[in-house]
Symmetry: D4
Amino acid sequence: MRESGDAFHLAIPARDLDEAHEFYVGGLGCKLARRYGDRITLDFFGDQVVCHLSAKFERAPELYPRHFGVTFRSIEDYDRLVHLAETRGLRFYAKPFTRFETMVEEHSSFVLQDPSNNLLEFKHYSDPRMMY
Amino acid sequence: MRESGDAFHLAIPARDLDEAHEFYVGGLGCKLARRYGDRITLDFFGDQVVCHLSAKFERAPELYPRHFGVTFRSIEDYDRLVHLAETRGLRFYAKPFTRFETMVEEHSSFVLQDPSNNLLEFKHYSDPRMMY
Amino acid sequence: MRESGDAFHLAIPARDLDEAHEFYVGGLGCKLARRYGDRITLDFFGDQVVCHLSAKFERAPELYPRHFGVTFRSIEDYDRLVHLAETRGLRFYAKPFTRFETMVEEHSSFVLQDPSNNLLEFKHYSDPRMMY
Amino acid sequence: MRESGDAFHLAIPARDLDEAHEFYVGGLGCKLARRYGDRITLDFFGDQVVCHLSAKFERAPELYPRHFGVTFRSIEDYDRLVHLAETRGLRFYAKPFTRFETMVEEHSSFVLQDPSNNLLEFKHYSDPRMMY
Amino acid sequence: MRESGDAFHLAIPARDLDEAHEFYVGGLGCKLARRYGDRITLDFFGDQVVCHLSAKFERAPELYPRHFGVTFRSIEDYDRLVHLAETRGLRFYAKPFTRFETMVEEHSSFVLQDPSNNLLEFKHYSDPRMMY
Amino acid sequence: MRESGDAFHLAIPARDLDEAHEFYVGGLGCKLARRYGDRITLDFFGDQVVCHLSAKFERAPELYPRHFGVTFRSIEDYDRLVHLAETRGLRFYAKPFTRFETMVEEHSSFVLQDPSNNLLEFKHYSDPRMMY
Amino acid sequence: MRESGDAFHLAIPARDLDEAHEFYVGGLGCKLARRYGDRITLDFFGDQVVCHLSAKFERAPELYPRHFGVTFRSIEDYDRLVHLAETRGLRFYAKPFTRFETMVEEHSSFVLQDPSNNLLEFKHYSDPRMMY
Amino acid sequence: MRESGDAFHLAIPARDLDEAHEFYVGGLGCKLARRYGDRITLDFFGDQVVCHLSAKFERAPELYPRHFGVTFRSIEDYDRLVHLAETRGLRFYAKPFTRFETMVEEHSSFVLQDPSNNLLEFKHYSDPRMMY
């Protein structure tokens, strides 16, 4: 189990900061921590995501080998995020589905696509010990 | 503050899984959760990092716009990791330095480079409220 | 001791939302949760403060009977906020001082004034049992 | 998420301290921490509310721009407070209602009025990420 | 380790409720939860103590076999209470002393006497495993 | 809410230590921390109870003004203790009943009698805020 | 209740380290912390188990007097482990059964056998106070 | 990090239960949970150790491959246990020493021997991430 006082941080490209702000704060419900001319820093489900203004964003996104997201311990948190994404019309790269059914590693998953083509996967495992 | 029961997860490319295993488990001291033919999943400081075997790894790594890591709440955890990286001879992309000195956002930082050229930044902020 | 899952929430007037945003996010280091045409909602040290655009802001602020703020358990958190307020040039209504010295209720305190003349008092008690 | 060791504190006017004591301790079930000639300090759901004897209380209370209260994480805590307020005959400024229905920001809410016309709003959000 | 959500509760006699209120709230800094005609209920360091108006209070108090109190995990909490008791002139039945010196069970202790002759012992053990 | 690292401690009389050991450890399921010639110290639901060998035990026990016990946050913990007391045939001074029904202070309660006539009351409140 | 920051550690014999790795990591879902020539160290449900290569493993395992395992607080965790063991075809020394039925000490239990004949018992008690 | 609500449990042989009780409760300061004719169950630093009366105890104890103990997160807890073992004259199989000095895996360690020749190792790592 991770330390609640620490934070994972991830830096990703954004082709436009207003767009990123609109997607992460107005859409996903993250909080804006700071905004500079070349980046915005976000409280992303308790961890830090920084969107750097950059031309090096992905043009043709694929799920592998790069994506990021949150694995929720409780199915309620997962379901609420599905609901939020649907209610607010966020863009799905992959609709909610089940992977590894009947196996111990079984989990629910869906993938969102941000305006700069970063892919965000959110998951929930039937058995939380399989979260890693 | 993040929920200790949830986990951030990040998928990154690896050009060779044995190499990745050696760097993350034998070097950084992460724990190996599972190994498949095409990927290894790691307990990375309490969060999940998955190394996918892939030819799409970075050849000429730059710190922006893509990197990831952990921001530690306690300076002791940060210092111990510096010590571990030096003792075990991990490859530094950037040696420990201080950014934004005299400002409230002041923090210590260093950057490691894994065998597939992924960049890992570890940080500690003088004022933990600036962690985001 | 309060429940960490709940949140205190406080609604206050703001004569201008950009000004409020600049003071609370850019200055105090709070996080912006949402912005609407008539208000901004903030993650204020873990609790919720909402600034409502309103002409009913105070013209001649006095500390009593209305003010709000945070009482910190650790002196380090208090000192860091003094440092932040000084470094970033926030407006002090009252500089750091000690109240009730030699008594059990002794505490450190300072008061900030936001652009709409709301007064924010931050405190630290020598004996945390006196925080109430 | 807030630190459970810290406390939000709020100072409000009271036209009469016995009345305030009766409402907050005898009615709302807060605990009395201290009483002085000019104020009472309360443990208000784990945070600190201080009622200062003052002639500057509101004569014609309106919900905006000033009110305060608690946003509960669990619906059980919210429902119990509705039950308490009804059982003990506390004065409602607004009966329990739902705001932003069908939206992600949907929440239950009710508003109490203390004897000095301070308005207290208690809330519960369907999605706790919207608490801010 | 005890559950923080539960509470120990103890009922003791009081020859006079105002006196008890003055000692426990005004003196020891406990919080008053409720007052009825025949008793007051207190938040006593997080647990519940109820003072029942009764003629069956002790006339000639002895430490054994009946007393109660708190064993603090941190020496700072213990020292602060000594300071509070001295500053506010509470009545000591036994001044701070050390018991079982040089043994593993070594602990600091002092005993207060309330107006109804109930004895309150507060302790701190060098080795917290000996708290039981 | 109380600190989980601290412990309430209570000293009570016992006319016979083997009897007390049998009741508290073999019956109530407390853990024995230490035994001396003149007393046994117990981990009583996470707090400390010490039974001192003494002739000053109560001959004709009454619930007021002296008794002690635990107020459980969860009804499951309360119900399990009722079940334990019935299964193991502990002596009830008062069978489970409801006090203050229809009021906010409503709670379930039962009272056990130990071999030295100390009375132990265990409670559960419908509204945990009324635990004090 | 145990300290979550500490860890129980147990050293056991293994006749073959690959076999042990396969059973504990691939089967039970433990995480591999380190591997040396003569041992592997595991994060076993949050505690540490070390498998030492040794010829002193048990040839004819019996449940008494030596076995080890985890007692789960929640029945969900227990049931998930039963499901995992069945789905992955781990070897049962004893199938799930109930011990001490109708008594307060009632608990569910099953026993696995690792490739070196170490016996692992997993339990869940109806009344968590009986876990010791 | 392990779950504080779960418990590791370990069953070991004891050639004599009174001896085991004396060593674990009177010596190490563990708490006695229950005693039956053929075993005693202990709260061993928050986990469960059961001593089963058995002739299968070790005659010539060796540290490998079987031993058990606790790895402490804080050096204070480790030092206090060294002090306890020395003060109370417990039998050392190995006096406190340092293993893997100058390496990241460096840790302090000592080994006690119980009356049935079970070996108990207690450790503290300079870097808590190496605890596994």
